[in-house]
Protein backbone atom coordinates (compact mmCIF):
# COMPACT_ATOMS: atom_id res chain seq x y z
CA UNK A 1 0.00 0.00 0.00
CA UNK A 2 2.71 2.42 1.03
CA UNK A 3 4.85 1.42 -1.90
CA UNK A 4 1.90 1.90 -4.23
CA UNK A 5 1.26 5.38 -2.81
CA UNK A 6 4.91 6.26 -3.25
CA UNK A 7 4.86 5.05 -6.79
CA UNK A 8 1.76 7.08 -7.54
CA UNK A 9 3.29 10.16 -5.94
CA UNK A 10 6.46 9.65 -7.96
CA UNK A 11 4.47 9.36 -11.19
CA UNK A 12 2.51 12.48 -10.31
CA UNK A 13 5.63 14.51 -9.56
CA UNK A 14 7.34 13.31 -12.73
CA UNK A 15 4.29 14.11 -14.80
CA UNK A 16 3.93 17.60 -13.39
CA UNK A 17 7.65 18.31 -13.67
CA UNK A 18 7.56 17.23 -17.31
CA UNK A 19 4.55 19.46 -17.91
CA UNK A 20 6.33 22.45 -16.35
CA UNK A 21 9.43 21.72 -18.44
CA UNK A 22 7.42 21.41 -21.63
CA UNK A 23 5.52 24.65 -20.98
CA UNK A 24 8.76 26.40 -20.03
CA UNK A 25 10.34 25.47 -23.35
CA UNK A 26 7.18 26.40 -25.27
CA UNK A 27 7.15 29.78 -23.55
CA UNK A 28 10.62 30.52 -24.94
CA UNK A 29 9.15 30.38 -28.45
CA UNK A 30 6.15 32.62 -27.85
CA UNK A 31 6.36 36.34 -28.48
CA UNK A 32 5.74 39.06 -31.01
CA UNK A 33 8.85 38.13 -32.98
CA UNK A 34 9.04 34.69 -34.50
CA UNK A 35 12.26 32.86 -33.67
CA UNK A 36 13.27 29.46 -35.02
CA UNK A 37 14.25 26.53 -32.77
CA UNK A 38 17.85 27.00 -33.89
CA UNK A 39 17.83 30.70 -33.07
CA UNK A 40 16.46 30.10 -29.57
CA UNK A 41 18.92 27.28 -28.97
CA UNK A 42 21.86 29.32 -30.23
CA UNK A 43 20.81 32.25 -28.06
CA UNK A 44 20.64 30.05 -24.97
CA UNK A 45 23.94 28.19 -25.38
CA UNK A 46 26.02 30.99 -26.89
CA UNK A 47 24.52 34.32 -25.91
CA UNK A 48 25.81 37.27 -27.92
CA UNK A 49 24.51 40.78 -28.51
CA UNK A 50 22.27 39.85 -31.44
CA UNK A 51 18.60 40.87 -31.23
CA UNK A 52 17.45 37.25 -31.01
CA UNK A 53 19.86 36.54 -28.13
CA UNK A 54 18.65 39.61 -26.25
CA UNK A 55 15.03 38.64 -26.83
CA UNK A 56 15.56 35.08 -25.62
CA UNK A 57 17.89 35.68 -22.69
CA UNK A 58 16.76 39.02 -21.37
CA UNK A 59 13.08 39.13 -22.17
CA UNK A 60 11.57 35.66 -22.59
CA UNK A 61 13.77 33.85 -20.07
CA UNK A 62 13.17 36.15 -17.06
CA UNK A 63 9.49 36.34 -17.91
CA UNK A 64 9.16 32.56 -18.01
CA UNK A 65 11.23 32.06 -14.84
CA UNK A 66 9.00 34.56 -13.05
CA UNK A 67 5.85 32.85 -14.37
CA UNK A 68 7.17 29.56 -12.99
CA UNK A 69 8.15 31.03 -9.61
CA UNK A 70 5.06 33.18 -9.10
CA UNK A 71 2.77 30.31 -10.16
CA UNK A 72 4.56 27.91 -7.82
CA UNK A 73 4.22 30.39 -4.96
CA UNK A 74 0.51 30.90 -5.54
CA UNK A 75 -0.22 27.19 -5.95
CA UNK A 76 1.75 26.28 -2.84
CA UNK A 77 0.29 29.12 -0.78
CA UNK A 78 -3.22 28.06 -1.80
CA UNK A 79 -2.62 24.45 -0.75
CA UNK A 80 -0.98 25.58 2.52
CA UNK A 81 -3.83 27.93 3.41
CA UNK A 82 -6.42 25.29 2.61
CA UNK A 83 -4.65 22.79 4.84
CA UNK A 84 -4.09 25.24 7.65
CA UNK A 85 -7.63 26.59 7.67
CA UNK A 86 -9.07 23.21 6.73
CA UNK A 87 -11.13 24.97 4.14
CA UNK A 88 -11.09 24.22 0.39
CA UNK A 89 -12.00 27.79 -0.53
CA UNK A 90 -8.99 29.45 1.08
CA UNK A 91 -6.69 31.10 -1.44
CA UNK A 92 -4.24 34.06 -1.21
CA UNK A 93 -6.52 36.19 -3.39
CA UNK A 94 -9.79 35.32 -1.70
CA UNK A 95 -8.53 35.73 1.88
CA UNK A 96 -7.05 39.15 1.07
CA UNK A 97 -3.30 38.33 1.16
CA UNK A 98 -2.87 39.42 -2.46
CA UNK A 99 -4.85 42.64 -1.93
CA UNK A 100 -2.78 43.32 1.18
CA UNK A 101 0.42 42.85 -0.78
CA UNK A 102 -0.95 45.01 -3.59
CA UNK A 103 -1.81 47.75 -1.11
CA UNK A 104 1.68 47.65 0.40
CA UNK A 105 3.24 47.89 -3.04
CA UNK A 106 0.88 50.67 -4.19
CA UNK A 107 1.74 52.75 -1.15
CA UNK A 108 5.42 52.37 -1.92
CA UNK A 109 4.73 53.51 -5.48
CA UNK A 110 2.54 56.34 -4.32
CA UNK A 111 4.94 57.76 -1.79
CA UNK A 112 7.88 57.27 -4.13
CA UNK A 113 9.64 54.97 -1.65
CA UNK A 114 10.65 52.65 -4.48
CA UNK A 115 13.15 55.29 -5.52
CA UNK A 116 14.94 54.99 -2.19
CA UNK A 117 15.57 51.29 -2.52
CA UNK A 118 14.59 48.76 -5.13
CA UNK A 119 13.86 46.41 -2.20
CA UNK A 120 11.09 48.65 -0.90
CA UNK A 121 8.51 47.16 -3.25
CA UNK A 122 8.90 43.46 -2.31
CA UNK A 123 9.28 44.29 1.39
CA UNK A 124 6.10 46.37 1.40
CA UNK A 125 4.34 43.55 -0.45
CA UNK A 126 5.36 41.09 2.25
CA UNK A 127 4.29 43.38 5.10
CA UNK A 128 0.93 44.00 3.40
CA UNK A 129 0.33 40.27 2.92
CA UNK A 130 1.35 39.54 6.52
CA UNK A 131 -1.05 42.13 7.94
CA UNK A 132 -3.87 40.78 5.78
CA UNK A 133 -3.34 37.17 6.87
CA UNK A 134 -2.96 38.18 10.53
CA UNK A 135 -6.22 40.12 10.28
CA UNK A 136 -7.93 37.10 8.78
CA UNK A 137 -6.97 35.01 11.79
CA UNK A 138 -8.24 37.71 14.13
CA UNK A 139 -11.51 38.14 12.26
CA UNK A 140 -12.37 34.57 11.38
CA UNK A 141 -10.71 32.67 14.18
CA UNK A 142 -9.12 29.31 13.53
CA UNK A 143 -12.20 27.11 13.46
CA UNK A 144 -14.12 29.44 11.22
CA UNK A 145 -16.83 28.06 8.97
CA UNK A 146 -16.06 28.36 5.26
CA UNK A 147 -18.61 31.14 5.04
CA UNK A 148 -17.13 33.15 7.93
CA UNK A 149 -13.69 32.76 6.41
CA UNK A 150 -14.77 33.96 2.98
CA UNK A 151 -16.68 36.88 4.45
CA UNK A 152 -13.66 37.91 6.50
CA UNK A 153 -11.55 37.60 3.36
CA UNK A 154 -14.01 39.74 1.42
CA UNK A 155 -13.91 42.37 4.17
CA UNK A 156 -10.10 42.46 4.23
CA UNK A 157 -9.84 42.49 0.43
CA UNK A 158 -12.41 45.27 0.14
CA UNK A 159 -10.67 47.38 2.73
CA UNK A 160 -7.25 46.88 1.13
CA UNK A 161 -8.72 47.63 -2.31
CA UNK A 162 -10.40 50.76 -0.97
CA UNK A 163 -7.09 52.03 0.38
CA UNK A 164 -5.38 51.15 -2.91
CA UNK A 165 -8.09 53.07 -4.75
CA UNK A 166 -7.45 55.99 -2.40
CA UNK A 167 -3.76 55.92 -3.34
CA UNK A 168 -4.70 55.95 -7.04
CA UNK A 169 -7.25 58.67 -6.37
CA UNK A 170 -4.73 60.95 -4.69
CA UNK A 171 -1.73 60.09 -6.87
CA UNK A 172 0.03 63.30 -7.82
CA UNK A 173 0.89 62.09 -11.28
CA UNK A 174 -1.67 60.74 -13.71
CA UNK A 175 1.00 58.41 -14.93
CA UNK A 176 1.62 56.93 -11.47
CA UNK A 177 -2.13 56.34 -11.18
CA UNK A 178 -2.15 54.57 -14.53
CA UNK A 179 0.89 52.56 -13.52
CA UNK A 180 -0.72 51.32 -10.30
CA UNK A 181 -3.97 50.51 -12.09
CA UNK A 182 -2.27 48.45 -14.76
CA UNK A 183 0.10 46.84 -12.33
CA UNK A 184 -2.85 45.70 -10.20
CA UNK A 185 -4.17 43.74 -13.17
CA UNK A 186 -1.14 41.48 -12.96
CA UNK A 187 1.41 41.02 -15.71
CA UNK A 188 4.84 39.58 -16.41
CA UNK A 189 5.51 41.54 -19.59
CA UNK A 190 9.03 42.89 -20.02
CA UNK A 191 10.27 41.85 -16.59
CA UNK A 192 14.02 41.50 -16.28
CA UNK A 193 16.54 39.35 -14.43
CA UNK A 194 16.65 42.14 -11.83
CA UNK A 195 13.09 41.24 -10.93
CA UNK A 196 14.02 37.57 -10.72
CA UNK A 197 16.93 38.34 -8.42
CA UNK A 198 14.72 40.59 -6.33
CA UNK A 199 11.87 38.15 -5.76
CA UNK A 200 13.35 34.64 -6.07
CA UNK A 201 15.21 34.52 -2.72
CA UNK A 202 12.16 35.66 -0.75
CA UNK A 203 9.92 33.22 -2.57
CA UNK A 204 12.43 30.46 -1.81
CA UNK A 205 12.40 31.27 1.92
CA UNK A 206 8.60 31.27 1.89
CA UNK A 207 8.51 27.89 0.13
CA UNK A 208 10.85 26.28 2.66
CA UNK A 209 8.70 27.59 5.54
CA UNK A 210 5.52 26.28 3.92
CA UNK A 211 6.90 22.91 2.79
CA UNK A 212 8.40 22.27 6.22
CA UNK A 213 4.86 22.18 7.58
CA UNK A 214 3.67 19.45 5.20
CA UNK A 215 3.69 16.55 7.68
CA UNK A 216 2.07 18.62 10.43
CA UNK A 217 -0.67 19.70 8.02
CA UNK A 218 -1.52 16.09 7.26
CA UNK A 219 -1.72 15.36 10.99
CA UNK A 220 -3.80 18.51 11.52
CA UNK A 221 -6.44 17.12 9.15
CA UNK A 222 -7.21 14.55 11.84
CA UNK A 223 -8.37 17.36 14.15
CA UNK A 224 -6.57 19.88 16.35
CA UNK A 225 -6.74 17.75 19.51
CA UNK A 226 -5.33 14.71 17.77
CA UNK A 227 -2.60 16.86 16.23
CA UNK A 228 -1.68 18.32 19.64
CA UNK A 229 -1.55 14.86 21.18
CA UNK A 230 0.76 13.74 18.38
CA UNK A 231 3.18 16.51 19.28
CA UNK A 232 2.30 19.14 16.66
CA UNK A 233 2.60 22.59 18.20
CA UNK A 234 -0.26 24.39 16.56
CA UNK A 235 0.90 27.90 17.35
CA UNK A 236 4.39 27.33 16.01
CA UNK A 237 2.96 25.70 12.90
CA UNK A 238 0.56 28.56 12.32
CA UNK A 239 3.23 31.23 12.73
CA UNK A 240 5.63 29.39 10.46
CA UNK A 241 3.09 28.85 7.69
CA UNK A 242 1.59 32.33 7.84
CA UNK A 243 5.08 33.84 7.65
CA UNK A 244 5.91 31.58 4.73
CA UNK A 245 2.75 32.59 2.87
CA UNK A 246 3.25 36.29 3.54
CA UNK A 247 6.92 36.31 2.47
CA UNK A 248 6.37 34.31 -0.71
CA UNK A 249 3.07 35.86 -1.81
CA UNK A 250 4.24 39.37 -0.89
CA UNK A 251 7.36 39.00 -3.02
CA UNK A 252 5.43 37.43 -5.89
CA UNK A 253 2.68 40.03 -5.98
CA UNK A 254 5.13 42.92 -5.74
CA UNK A 255 6.75 41.77 -9.00
CA UNK A 256 3.79 40.47 -10.98
CA UNK A 257 0.81 42.35 -9.54
CA UNK A 258 -2.26 40.42 -8.50
CA UNK A 259 -2.76 37.09 -10.27
CA UNK A 260 -5.87 35.62 -8.78
CA UNK A 261 -7.39 32.18 -8.31
CA UNK A 262 -4.27 30.11 -9.09
CA UNK A 263 -4.15 28.94 -5.46
CA UNK A 264 -7.78 27.90 -5.67
CA UNK A 265 -7.80 26.02 -8.95
CA UNK A 266 -4.55 24.09 -8.65
CA UNK A 267 -5.02 22.39 -5.25
CA UNK A 268 -8.60 21.54 -6.11
CA UNK A 269 -7.63 19.74 -9.30
CA UNK A 270 -4.73 17.90 -7.69
CA UNK A 271 -6.39 16.93 -4.37
CA UNK A 272 -7.91 13.63 -5.60
CA UNK A 273 -4.50 12.52 -6.88
CA UNK A 274 -2.86 12.72 -3.44
CA UNK A 275 -5.59 10.90 -1.53
CA UNK A 276 -6.98 14.14 -0.10
CA UNK A 277 -3.98 14.42 2.21
CA UNK A 278 -3.16 18.13 2.84
CA UNK A 279 0.54 17.57 3.47
CA UNK A 280 1.06 15.70 0.21
CA UNK A 281 -0.86 18.38 -1.68
CA UNK A 282 1.83 21.03 -1.08
CA UNK A 283 4.61 19.83 -3.37
CA UNK A 284 2.32 18.94 -6.24
CA UNK A 285 0.47 22.27 -5.98
CA UNK A 286 3.81 24.05 -6.27
CA UNK A 287 4.47 22.33 -9.60
CA UNK A 288 0.85 22.63 -10.70
CA UNK A 289 0.78 26.38 -9.99
CA UNK A 290 3.93 26.79 -12.01
CA UNK A 291 2.42 24.97 -14.98
CA UNK A 292 -0.84 26.92 -14.81
CA UNK A 293 0.76 30.37 -14.73
CA UNK A 294 3.27 29.61 -17.50
CA UNK A 295 0.35 28.31 -19.59
CA UNK A 296 -1.74 31.39 -18.81
CA UNK A 297 1.19 33.64 -19.69
CA UNK A 298 1.58 31.83 -23.01
CA UNK A 299 -2.15 32.33 -23.64
CA UNK A 300 -1.79 36.05 -22.88
CA UNK A 301 0.91 36.42 -25.51
CA UNK A 302 -1.02 34.41 -28.09
CA UNK A 303 -4.25 36.35 -27.51
CA UNK A 304 -2.77 39.86 -27.36
CA UNK A 305 -2.74 41.97 -30.46
CA UNK A 306 -2.09 45.65 -29.91
CA UNK A 307 -2.94 46.37 -26.27
CA UNK A 308 -1.89 43.38 -24.22
CA UNK A 309 -4.36 41.36 -22.18
CA UNK A 310 -3.14 41.23 -18.59
CA UNK A 311 -2.23 37.92 -17.00
CA UNK A 312 -4.28 38.61 -13.86
CA UNK A 313 -7.31 39.32 -16.02
CA UNK A 314 -6.96 35.95 -17.75
CA UNK A 315 -6.56 33.94 -14.52
CA UNK A 316 -9.53 35.77 -12.98
CA UNK A 317 -11.68 35.08 -16.03
CA UNK A 318 -10.95 31.38 -15.59
CA UNK A 319 -10.87 31.45 -11.80
CA UNK A 320 -14.03 33.33 -10.88
CA UNK A 321 -16.45 30.85 -12.54
CA UNK A 322 -14.40 28.07 -10.98
CA UNK A 323 -14.89 29.69 -7.57
CA UNK A 324 -18.65 29.78 -8.16
CA UNK A 325 -18.58 26.14 -9.14
CA UNK A 326 -16.77 25.29 -5.89
CA UNK A 327 -19.30 27.29 -3.88
CA UNK A 328 -22.16 25.35 -5.46
CA UNK A 329 -20.37 22.09 -4.74
CA UNK A 330 -19.86 23.20 -1.17
CA UNK A 331 -23.55 23.95 -0.78
CA UNK A 332 -24.43 20.50 -2.03
CA UNK A 333 -21.94 19.15 0.46
CA UNK A 334 -19.81 17.38 -2.14
CA UNK A 335 -16.49 18.93 -1.11
Amino acid sequence: MIRKTHQKTFTLYTGLALLVGLLFITSMFIGPSTLSINAVWAALVAPDQSPSAIIVNQIRLPRTILAALVGATLGLAGATLQGLLRNPLAEPGIIGASSGAALGASLVLYFGLAEISILALPIAGMIGALIAVAMLFLLAGRNASPLALILSGVAISSFASALTALAINLASSAYAALEITFWLMGSLTDRSMTHVALAAPAMGVGWVLMLSGARSLSILSLGEDTASSLGVSLNTLRVRLVLGIAIAVGAAVSISGAIGFVGLIVPHILRPFVGFEPGRLLGVSLLGGSALVIAADIAVRLLSTGIEIRLGVVTSLIGAPFFLFLLLKLRRGTI
Binding site: G31, P51, I59, A114, E115, D190, G306
Partner: protein, 282 residues
Protein backbone atom coordinates in the same frame (compact mmCIF):
# COMPACT_ATOMS: atom_id res chain seq x y z
CA UNK B 1 -33.10 124.52 -43.05
CA UNK B 2 -35.55 122.46 -41.20
CA UNK B 3 -34.82 119.67 -43.54
CA UNK B 4 -31.08 119.87 -42.96
CA UNK B 5 -31.63 119.84 -39.18
CA UNK B 6 -33.77 116.78 -39.58
CA UNK B 7 -31.10 115.10 -41.66
CA UNK B 8 -28.41 115.95 -39.11
CA UNK B 9 -30.59 114.54 -36.34
CA UNK B 10 -31.15 111.45 -38.45
CA UNK B 11 -27.44 110.99 -39.07
CA UNK B 12 -26.66 111.53 -35.42
CA UNK B 13 -29.33 109.04 -34.45
CA UNK B 14 -27.87 106.49 -36.83
CA UNK B 15 -24.35 107.09 -35.54
CA UNK B 16 -25.55 106.75 -31.96
CA UNK B 17 -27.41 103.58 -32.82
CA UNK B 18 -24.35 102.18 -34.57
CA UNK B 19 -22.18 102.77 -31.52
CA UNK B 20 -24.64 100.89 -29.38
CA UNK B 21 -24.73 98.02 -31.86
CA UNK B 22 -20.93 97.95 -31.96
CA UNK B 23 -20.69 98.02 -28.18
CA UNK B 24 -23.17 95.16 -28.01
CA UNK B 25 -21.23 93.29 -30.63
CA UNK B 26 -18.02 93.72 -28.68
CA UNK B 27 -19.74 92.53 -25.53
CA UNK B 28 -20.91 89.55 -27.52
CA UNK B 29 -17.51 89.00 -29.14
CA UNK B 30 -15.28 89.77 -26.21
CA UNK B 31 -16.04 87.78 -23.11
CA UNK B 32 -15.07 89.72 -20.01
CA UNK B 33 -15.07 86.96 -17.40
CA UNK B 34 -13.48 83.84 -18.86
CA UNK B 35 -13.26 80.77 -16.66
CA UNK B 36 -11.16 77.85 -17.90
CA UNK B 37 -11.49 74.43 -16.27
CA UNK B 38 -9.07 72.65 -18.58
CA UNK B 39 -5.28 72.70 -18.74
CA UNK B 40 -5.20 73.16 -22.52
CA UNK B 41 -7.85 75.88 -22.45
CA UNK B 42 -5.68 77.61 -19.80
CA UNK B 43 -2.79 77.79 -22.27
CA UNK B 44 -4.86 79.28 -25.09
CA UNK B 45 -6.63 81.70 -22.76
CA UNK B 46 -3.32 83.02 -21.43
CA UNK B 47 -1.93 83.41 -24.93
CA UNK B 48 -4.97 84.84 -26.69
CA UNK B 49 -7.03 86.81 -24.16
CA UNK B 50 -6.15 90.01 -22.35
CA UNK B 51 -5.31 89.39 -18.74
CA UNK B 52 -8.28 91.51 -17.61
CA UNK B 53 -10.65 89.12 -19.38
CA UNK B 54 -9.50 86.09 -17.37
CA UNK B 55 -11.51 85.37 -14.21
CA UNK B 56 -10.03 81.98 -13.35
CA UNK B 57 -7.91 79.11 -14.67
CA UNK B 58 -7.72 75.41 -13.81
CA UNK B 59 -5.63 74.28 -10.84
CA UNK B 60 -3.04 72.79 -13.20
CA UNK B 61 -2.34 76.12 -14.89
CA UNK B 62 0.52 76.97 -12.51
CA UNK B 63 2.04 73.44 -12.43
CA UNK B 64 5.38 73.99 -14.13
CA UNK B 65 5.83 70.35 -15.11
CA UNK B 66 2.56 70.30 -17.09
CA UNK B 67 1.64 73.85 -17.97
CA UNK B 68 3.70 75.64 -20.63
CA UNK B 69 2.28 79.02 -19.58
CA UNK B 70 2.74 78.37 -15.84
CA UNK B 71 4.64 81.62 -15.35
CA UNK B 72 1.98 83.74 -17.00
CA UNK B 73 -0.70 82.02 -14.93
CA UNK B 74 0.77 83.22 -11.64
CA UNK B 75 -1.55 85.52 -9.72
CA UNK B 76 -4.71 84.40 -11.47
CA UNK B 77 -7.36 82.70 -9.33
CA UNK B 78 -7.39 78.92 -9.82
CA UNK B 79 -10.32 76.51 -9.73
CA UNK B 80 -10.81 72.76 -9.39
CA UNK B 81 -13.34 72.61 -12.19
CA UNK B 82 -16.53 71.97 -10.23
CA UNK B 83 -19.79 73.60 -11.35
CA UNK B 84 -20.20 75.27 -7.97
CA UNK B 85 -16.88 77.11 -8.21
CA UNK B 86 -17.55 78.10 -11.80
CA UNK B 87 -20.98 79.55 -10.98
CA UNK B 88 -19.53 81.54 -8.08
CA UNK B 89 -17.05 83.11 -10.54
CA UNK B 90 -19.94 84.56 -12.61
CA UNK B 91 -18.34 83.73 -15.98
CA UNK B 92 -19.61 84.88 -19.35
CA UNK B 93 -17.62 82.14 -21.04
CA UNK B 94 -16.57 78.76 -19.67
CA UNK B 95 -13.79 76.89 -21.48
CA UNK B 96 -13.69 73.14 -20.97
CA UNK B 97 -11.97 70.45 -22.97
CA UNK B 98 -11.62 66.80 -23.88
CA UNK B 99 -11.75 64.68 -20.72
CA UNK B 100 -13.50 67.40 -18.69
CA UNK B 101 -16.20 65.89 -16.49
CA UNK B 102 -19.34 65.39 -18.57
CA UNK B 103 -21.62 66.10 -15.61
CA UNK B 104 -19.98 69.46 -14.91
CA UNK B 105 -20.34 70.65 -18.50
CA UNK B 106 -23.96 69.50 -18.72
CA UNK B 107 -25.01 71.15 -15.47
CA UNK B 108 -23.32 74.43 -16.48
CA UNK B 109 -25.10 74.35 -19.83
CA UNK B 110 -28.40 73.61 -18.09
CA UNK B 111 -27.83 76.68 -15.92
CA UNK B 112 -27.50 78.76 -19.07
CA UNK B 113 -23.74 79.33 -19.15
CA UNK B 114 -21.93 79.53 -22.44
CA UNK B 115 -19.57 76.54 -22.41
CA UNK B 116 -17.02 75.92 -25.12
CA UNK B 117 -15.39 72.50 -25.26
CA UNK B 118 -11.97 72.23 -26.86
CA UNK B 119 -11.41 69.16 -28.99
CA UNK B 120 -8.11 67.29 -28.76
CA UNK B 121 -5.84 68.53 -31.54
CA UNK B 122 -3.87 65.67 -32.99
CA UNK B 123 -2.07 67.42 -35.84
CA UNK B 124 -0.89 70.90 -36.81
CA UNK B 125 -3.92 71.62 -39.01
CA UNK B 126 -6.15 70.99 -35.99
CA UNK B 127 -3.93 73.25 -33.91
CA UNK B 128 -4.09 76.11 -36.43
CA UNK B 129 -7.88 75.85 -36.63
CA UNK B 130 -8.21 75.73 -32.87
CA UNK B 131 -5.98 78.76 -32.29
CA UNK B 132 -7.97 80.82 -34.80
CA UNK B 133 -11.33 79.68 -33.45
CA UNK B 134 -10.38 80.59 -29.90
CA UNK B 135 -8.78 83.89 -30.90
CA UNK B 136 -12.04 84.87 -32.62
CA UNK B 137 -14.19 83.82 -29.69
CA UNK B 138 -11.96 85.58 -27.16
CA UNK B 139 -12.15 88.71 -29.29
CA UNK B 140 -8.51 88.87 -30.41
CA UNK B 141 -8.35 87.49 -33.94
CA UNK B 142 -5.05 89.28 -34.56
CA UNK B 143 -3.31 87.52 -31.70
CA UNK B 144 -4.42 84.24 -33.22
CA UNK B 145 -2.91 85.05 -36.61
CA UNK B 146 0.38 86.12 -34.99
CA UNK B 147 0.57 82.94 -32.92
CA UNK B 148 -0.09 80.71 -35.93
CA UNK B 149 2.55 82.58 -37.95
CA UNK B 150 5.04 82.12 -35.12
CA UNK B 151 4.30 78.40 -34.94
CA UNK B 152 4.59 77.92 -38.70
CA UNK B 153 7.88 79.80 -38.68
CA UNK B 154 9.23 77.50 -35.94
CA UNK B 155 8.01 74.41 -37.75
CA UNK B 156 9.68 75.52 -40.92
CA UNK B 157 13.06 76.39 -39.41
CA UNK B 158 12.99 73.17 -37.37
CA UNK B 159 13.27 70.96 -40.42
CA UNK B 160 15.56 73.04 -42.65
CA UNK B 161 18.74 71.19 -43.64
CA UNK B 162 17.06 67.85 -43.03
CA UNK B 163 17.24 65.65 -46.07
CA UNK B 164 17.20 62.01 -46.89
CA UNK B 165 15.20 59.10 -45.62
CA UNK B 166 13.24 59.17 -42.42
CA UNK B 167 14.95 57.28 -39.57
CA UNK B 168 12.68 54.97 -37.61
CA UNK B 169 11.66 56.25 -34.17
CA UNK B 170 9.17 55.21 -31.53
CA UNK B 171 7.30 56.94 -28.78
CA UNK B 172 8.14 54.78 -25.80
CA UNK B 173 6.57 55.58 -22.47
CA UNK B 174 7.14 53.67 -19.24
CA UNK B 175 5.42 50.24 -19.37
CA UNK B 176 5.72 50.26 -23.16
CA UNK B 177 2.86 52.55 -24.11
CA UNK B 178 3.21 54.08 -27.54
CA UNK B 179 1.28 56.38 -29.86
CA UNK B 180 0.37 55.60 -33.44
CA UNK B 181 -1.91 56.97 -36.12
CA UNK B 182 -4.22 59.77 -35.04
CA UNK B 183 -2.17 60.96 -32.08
CA UNK B 184 -0.50 64.30 -31.46
CA UNK B 185 2.72 62.48 -30.48
CA UNK B 186 2.86 60.78 -33.86
CA UNK B 187 2.25 64.06 -35.72
CA UNK B 188 5.09 65.70 -33.81
CA UNK B 189 7.46 62.81 -34.49
CA UNK B 190 6.62 62.75 -38.18
CA UNK B 191 6.86 66.55 -38.49
CA UNK B 192 10.40 66.29 -37.10
CA UNK B 193 11.41 64.03 -40.00
CA UNK B 194 11.07 60.58 -38.44
CA UNK B 195 9.08 57.50 -39.32
CA UNK B 196 6.89 56.38 -36.40
CA UNK B 197 7.28 52.68 -35.59
CA UNK B 198 3.76 52.48 -34.15
CA UNK B 199 2.33 53.77 -37.43
CA UNK B 200 4.39 51.21 -39.37
CA UNK B 201 2.87 48.54 -37.08
CA UNK B 202 -0.59 49.99 -37.83
CA UNK B 203 -1.27 50.93 -34.22
CA UNK B 204 -3.89 53.46 -33.22
CA UNK B 205 -3.53 56.48 -30.97
CA UNK B 206 -2.69 54.29 -27.97
CA UNK B 207 -0.74 51.09 -28.41
CA UNK B 208 1.59 48.81 -26.53
CA UNK B 209 5.11 48.10 -27.73
CA UNK B 210 6.60 44.98 -26.17
CA UNK B 211 10.38 45.19 -25.72
CA UNK B 212 10.74 42.27 -28.14
CA UNK B 213 9.18 44.28 -30.95
CA UNK B 214 11.48 47.16 -30.13
CA UNK B 215 14.54 44.96 -30.25
CA UNK B 216 13.63 43.41 -33.60
CA UNK B 217 12.63 46.72 -35.19
CA UNK B 218 15.73 48.57 -33.89
CA UNK B 219 14.49 52.17 -34.10
CA UNK B 220 17.20 54.85 -33.95
CA UNK B 221 15.32 56.89 -31.39
CA UNK B 222 12.98 56.32 -28.47
CA UNK B 223 11.03 59.34 -27.36
CA UNK B 224 9.93 59.57 -23.75
CA UNK B 225 7.87 62.57 -22.83
CA UNK B 226 7.23 61.53 -19.23
CA UNK B 227 10.87 61.49 -18.24
CA UNK B 228 10.86 64.85 -16.51
CA UNK B 229 7.67 64.20 -14.54
CA UNK B 230 8.82 64.94 -10.99
CA UNK B 231 6.14 62.72 -9.46
CA UNK B 232 6.99 59.24 -8.21
CA UNK B 233 6.40 56.35 -10.59
CA UNK B 234 7.69 52.82 -11.12
CA UNK B 235 9.76 53.70 -14.14
CA UNK B 236 11.68 56.30 -12.18
CA UNK B 237 12.42 53.76 -9.46
CA UNK B 238 14.85 51.64 -11.45
CA UNK B 239 12.30 49.05 -12.48
CA UNK B 240 12.80 49.79 -16.15
CA UNK B 241 14.22 46.85 -18.09
CA UNK B 242 18.06 46.99 -18.40
CA UNK B 243 17.81 46.15 -22.11
CA UNK B 244 16.29 49.58 -22.69
CA UNK B 245 19.50 51.31 -21.71
CA UNK B 246 21.66 49.06 -23.91
CA UNK B 247 19.76 49.14 -27.20
CA UNK B 248 21.02 50.55 -30.52
CA UNK B 249 18.79 53.59 -29.99
CA UNK B 250 19.15 56.98 -28.50
CA UNK B 251 16.59 57.91 -25.84
CA UNK B 252 15.25 61.45 -25.92
CA UNK B 253 13.43 62.98 -23.01
CA UNK B 254 11.22 65.78 -24.27
CA UNK B 255 9.55 67.87 -21.55
CA UNK B 256 6.10 66.65 -20.61
CA UNK B 257 4.50 70.08 -20.86
CA UNK B 258 5.21 70.32 -24.59
CA UNK B 259 2.97 67.28 -25.27
CA UNK B 260 -0.01 67.52 -22.97
CA UNK B 261 -1.94 69.78 -25.37
CA UNK B 262 -1.88 70.24 -29.09
CA UNK B 263 -0.84 73.90 -29.14
CA UNK B 264 1.49 76.40 -30.82
CA UNK B 265 4.35 75.23 -28.61
CA UNK B 266 4.03 71.68 -29.98
CA UNK B 267 6.36 73.17 -32.59
CA UNK B 268 9.03 73.35 -29.87
CA UNK B 269 8.82 69.57 -29.41
CA UNK B 270 9.28 69.24 -33.18
CA UNK B 271 12.28 71.56 -32.93
CA UNK B 272 13.95 69.48 -30.21
CA UNK B 273 13.34 66.23 -32.10
CA UNK B 274 14.49 67.74 -35.39
CA UNK B 275 17.77 68.69 -33.72
CA UNK B 276 18.25 65.02 -32.82
CA UNK B 277 17.24 64.00 -36.34
CA UNK B 278 19.97 66.29 -37.71
CA UNK B 279 22.60 64.75 -35.44
CA UNK B 280 21.68 61.25 -36.68
CA UNK B 281 23.05 62.12 -40.15
CA UNK B 282 21.08 59.77 -42.33
Amino acid sequence: MENRGGLAAFVLAIMFFQTIVEKLAIAEEMPQRIVSIHLCADQFTLALANRAQIASLSYLATDESRSYMANAAKGIQLNNGTAEEVVALRPDLVLAGFMSARATIESLQALGYRVLELALSTNFDDIRAQIQLLADILGNPKKGKTLIAKMDQQLETAVTDIYGSRPLAAIYQPMGFTSGRGSLESSILISAGFENLAVRLKMGALGHLPLETLISARPSLLVNWMGDDPHPSLSRAGYAHPVLAKGPWQIAFIPNKLWTCGAWYSALAVKQLAAIRRSLKK
